[in-house]
Amino acid sequence: MDAHAVLNLKRIATNIRKGVITAVASAGSGHPGGSLSIADIMAYLFFEKMNIDPKNPKNPDRDRFVMSKGHCSPALYSTLAHRGFFPVEDLSGFRQVSSYLEGHPNMNTVPGVDMSTGSLGQGFSAAVGMAMAGKLDKKDYRVYVMLGDGELEEGEVWEAAMCAAHYKLDNLTAFVDYNGLQIDGKITEVMNPEPIGDKFKAFGWEVISIDAHDFNQIEEAVKHAESFKGKPTVIVARSVKGKGVSYMENQAGWHGSAPKKDQAQQALDELDAFLASLE
């Protein structure tokens, strides 16, 4: 990826992060940490990679995306808004009773959301179903799904993984947001799901490990997944929970807490400063 393209994606990702902060701060609740950690991957997928059209969100031939870690709806909403599926201003209605932007994604009310999620593991299974439909219909669309590393503790994830490999769903690409933290602390201390890559490999998946914040690595991994035949691919993306906001980075506490007004302002100022530094 040329430097210009990387710069562009960094700008987009930073704007996505700003939207995350705005949404969660307006709501007074929500999940900023795991939304910030995936912003770069979201920028790449929605602005560079996926065959999607905000004017035609239900196109049957479109690429699909499932936020299996549904609590990171702020990341999904901010990405969709910036991509043109609905107004960016609507992000400040997040989680409020009059808004269509609910705490966890609702496919029936939010343009661009391909599956309602929230109960961990189920989005992954649904993504497997979408990939199966694609194979049945001999269509070219690709299915992307984002999982959390804590989410890997859910048994259903492994049912879905087994199923995807069994049905050779090479049109399915999964990401694991490997930020190492969950609500009660480090994943290794709560209920250790490691070694992550090895587990997927044993389940018959192609495994790629990357830095979740390196656009060249993201692109290379996604392209590799696209051309790899016979197996689904998982991209295990080492990330920083809370990436982009200094006081949130690597903190389990910012999994599901909203910044207060002054904290939110500090976060936005940091992100704006980063944007300025890109010029």
Binding site: P60, V66, N106, M107, N108, D114, M115, S116, G118, S119, G121, Q122, G123, F124, S125, A126, A127, V128, G129, M130, A131, M132, A133, G134, L136, D137, G155, E156, E159, A160, M162, C163, H166, Y167
Partner: protein, 313 residues
């Protein structure tokens, strides 16, 4: 059709009959020979997908397929469908209102020898408590075939409660059915017996005995537990003054409760319930279990007479 056929068999055959619709996809969890989705598999092997012993995954996979335009039938035993995969049915199928029909076989204690772990006595209670879910419990092979075909035509979640046991055919071949509409199978004025599933045939036998004893019993088949036929039930309450419900299900939360909800809020009359009295099943021949748990025509007659005494008292 034979004189006796299991509703699971009628289900499988109906799937095979409608299976030429390329949008239909059938999922199973290693039970196709038991759920009889194998009838569909034999005709349309490319659209019969085994998900293996992973019922939770199966239900959410079904949701994913449905989101891509498929009409999905997902089958396993009722206890695993309604029980184990409840969260997936609720969150991935019903909440987004996706087009998945759950063909839940082996419901009730008539499962027999497998025993309590496999005998779903709570599934109607569970499934009817989820918004957007249509709950169907057909009584015989004829109504099963008709209702499965209708379920395939509606766009949304449906729970189909089917049984293992061969049960008598109650309806003529040309009988018609409508989801949401109960069927008055026998007219009567003194008392109404509302039954579902395999209890319908027993209710009709009981009604015959009551006739001989001078009691005119109306018998209604409620094949759609949800949305329930409120008008038919209220009319029965008004016209007969007493209602006895019969189900192969816990007396808590199933047909009896659903009917009571309607009766109490519209036209309260004395009610009683024939069903499993809040106990787990056990291993045995269905023919031994059904009487052990009070699921007999004789018990229906007894309870009907008791209810009549209340009505007159």
């Amino acid at each position: 059709m034979a004189e006796k056929i299991a509703t699971r068999v009628a289900y499988g055959k109906a799937l095979a009959e409608i299976g030429s619709d390329e949008n239909i996809v059938v999922l199973d969890s290693d039970l196709s020979k038991s759920t009889r989705t194998d009838f569909f598999k034999n005709e349309y092997p490319d659209r019969h997908l085994n998900i293996g012993i992973a019922e939770s995954n199966m239900m959410a996979v079904a949701a994913g397929l449905a989101s891509c335009g498929k009409t999905v039938f997902a089958s396993t035993f009722a206890i695993f469908a309604a029980g184990r995969a409840f969260d997936q049915i609720r969150n991935s199928i019903c909440y987004p209102n996706l087009n998945v029909k759950i063909g839940a076989t082996h419901a009730g204690i008539s499962v027999g020898e497998d025993g309590a772990s496999h005998q779903a006595i709570e599934d109607l209670a569970l499934m009817r408590s989820i918004p957007n879910m249509t709950v169907i419990s057909p009584a015989d092979g004829i109504s099963t075939a008709a209702l499965v075909k209708q379920a395939a035509k509606i766009n949304g979640p449906v729970y189909l409660r089917l049984g293992r046991l061969d049960v008598p055919v109650v309806y003529p071949e040309d009988a018609t059915f409508e989801i949401g509409k109960g069927v008055t199978v026998k007219q009567g004025n003194d008392i109404t017996i509302i039954a579902t599933g395999l209890m319908l045939d027993m209710a009709l036998t009981a009604a015959k005995t009551l006739d001989e004893q001078g009691v005119s019993a109306r018998v209604i088949d409620i094949h759609t537990i949800k949305p329930i036929d409120v008008d038919l039930i209220v009319a029965a309450a008004r016209e007969t003054g007493a209602i006895l419900t019969c189900e192969e299900h816990n007396i808590h939360g199933g047909l009896g409760s659903a009917v009571a909800e309607v009766v109490v809020s519209n036209h309260p009359v004395p009610m009683d319930m024939v069903g499993i009295e809040d106990q787990f099943g056990k291993s045995g021949k269905p023919a031994d279990l059904l009487p052990m748990y009070g699921l007999t025509a004789e018990n229906i007659v007894e309870k009907a007479k008791g209810l009549l005494a209340k009505k007159r008292g």
